[in-house]
Subunit: 279 residues, 2 copies
Amino acid sequence: MKIFRSIKKQQQYSFKEKCKGRVIGFVPTMGFLHKGHLSLIDKAKELSNRVIVSIFVNPLQFAPNEDYREYPRDEKRDLKLLEEKGVDTVLIPELNEMYPNGFETYVEVSKLSKDYCGRSRPLFFRGVATIVLKLFNTVQPDLAVFGEKDYQQYIIIKRMSRDLNLPIFVIPSPIVREEDGLAMSSRNLYLTPSERKEAPVLYESMRRVKELASKGERNVKNLKKEMVKFIESKKYPRIDYIEFVDPENLKRAKILQGPTRILLAVWIGKARLIDNMEV
Amino acid sequence: MKIFRSIKKQQQYSFKEKCKGRVIGFVPTMGFLHKGHLSLIDKAKELSNRVIVSIFVNPLQFAPNEDYREYPRDEKRDLKLLEEKGVDTVLIPELNEMYPNGFETYVEVSKLSKDYCGRSRPLFFRGVATIVLKLFNTVQPDLAVFGEKDYQQYIIIKRMSRDLNLPIFVIPSPIVREEDGLAMSSRNLYLTPSERKEAPVLYESMRRVKELASKGERNVKNLKKEMVKFIESKKYPRIDYIEFVDPENLKRAKILQGPTRILLAVWIGKARLIDNMEV
C-alpha cells in the first residue's frame, strides 16, 4: 500500500494509473475509520481497479466553537485497517500544503448549503465543498463514494461535481448502523454510556414514521409531530431539526407522494448526531 | 482544426492527448478576437504541443446592467483567425450545458476579488473564477495563458489555481497596444471616434508617472494626483479608480519601493476601460 503525503506525487501517480486505463475509485475520509468507512471502500473496490483513500481532518469545515481539536485521530490504526482492506493508496496531505499562507479560495453550492445542517453550521458545507474539490483535483478519480449518512453533503457534492464539469461519478453508499440502529459515526464516541443508550432514538423515530406512512398517514405535519413527541419523551435528546425532503433537490415536502427523505439532527450531550431515511 | 461543442468530447480528447505525452496549452476567450488574443495564442504555442482556445461569452460575469447582450460576437471570423494561427482545437460550449437548470456552484477568491474592479463589479470575479474553473475542468490543460491587460483577473486565477491544487501553470502574457498606446480590448469598439481619440489617456498617464518616478518621485499620493489631473484635463474620461499595488498580492503601496503596478479603470462614454503598468 502506497502512502502519499505530497499532493504532487499523488497527482503524478493518479495520472499514470489513469493513462494505463485503470479506473480510480476515491473515498475521502477524516480518518478514525469505522465500519461505515469500510463499506464505502467496499463499494469503491466493486466499481474500480484502484482504490485511493484520503485521511484529512479538514479545519475549514469546523466552526471556531466546534470540535476540530478533539476530533478523534488514530493514523496508525487507520493505516492498518486500510492495508487489511487491500486499499492501493492512502493520501494523507499536510495541513500547510492544503492551506498555505494566503489561502482564500472557496467553493459554494449556494442554495443546497443554506438549509438543514447549513442552518446551525453556516460555513460547514462551504468547507466541505472546498476540501472535496481540492482532494478531487489531487486524486483525479473516475468515481468517488460518499456515505448517505451525510445525505445533504452527498447531494451537495453531486451538484458541485455536475456544476463544475468534473469528470467524476459521485456514488452514494447506504448508511451502516450499529445493532441497535444507531448510524455509525466517529462522533458517537462523545456519548456517555447513558446517552449512548438513548442514541438509537433517531433511527427508531424514523422507523415509526415509516410504519405510520405504510398505514396510510401522508401528512408531513402529523408525522413530524409524532417524531418530535417520541424523541422528546427521552431524557437527553434536543432536536436541531427534522425535515421531510425531496431526495434529489432537498426541497421540503408537505405530503408524502413519491420518494421522500427524512433528514434529522439531534443533540445528545455534546454530540450532534445526524441521520436520515427514505420513506 | 477540431471544434468541440460538447464538454465530454473535449474532456476525452484532452485526456487522450495528455496520455500521449502532449503538453496542452489553453487560452480561454470570449471571442471577437483581436491581436491581444492572438499574442496569448503565440505564447501558448511557444510552451506547449497542443493549443486549445475556448470561445464563450460568460453570462455569470456580467451584472444585469452590463453589456452581456451587446458584447460583440463573430464566431465565423474568430474560427478563421484561429485556423490561420494553427490552433489545434476550439471549444465552443453551449450555454445550457455550461449553466444547466439548478446551477448554483460558485468559486470565490475572497479578498483579491473585493477591491479595484471588484468594487464597481461586485460579482464579476466570482463569475470569472467559476467559468475559468469549469473550462479548466473541461480542457484539463497543463498550462493556461492570461493577458496582463486584465491584471487583477490574472492574479485571481493564479491564486485560485494554487488554492484548489489544480495541476495547471497560469502564465501571464504582456499587454498588446494599438499604435497610440490604447490597450487592445473588444470593448474599444464601444468608443465613438472622438472618444477613441482620447482613449490613449490611460496609457499616457501611466507613462508620465513612470517618467516622474524615474526622476525620483516616490510618493504614491503625489503620483496619483498627477495622473488624476492629467486624465481630468480631457473631455470624456471619468475615473473609476487609480491604484498603485504590489504586483503579487495586490496590496496598496504608499511609496514606490520594489516592484509596483499601477492599476486603473476609466469610463470613456459607455466603455469602461482598464489598463495597468509596472513602475
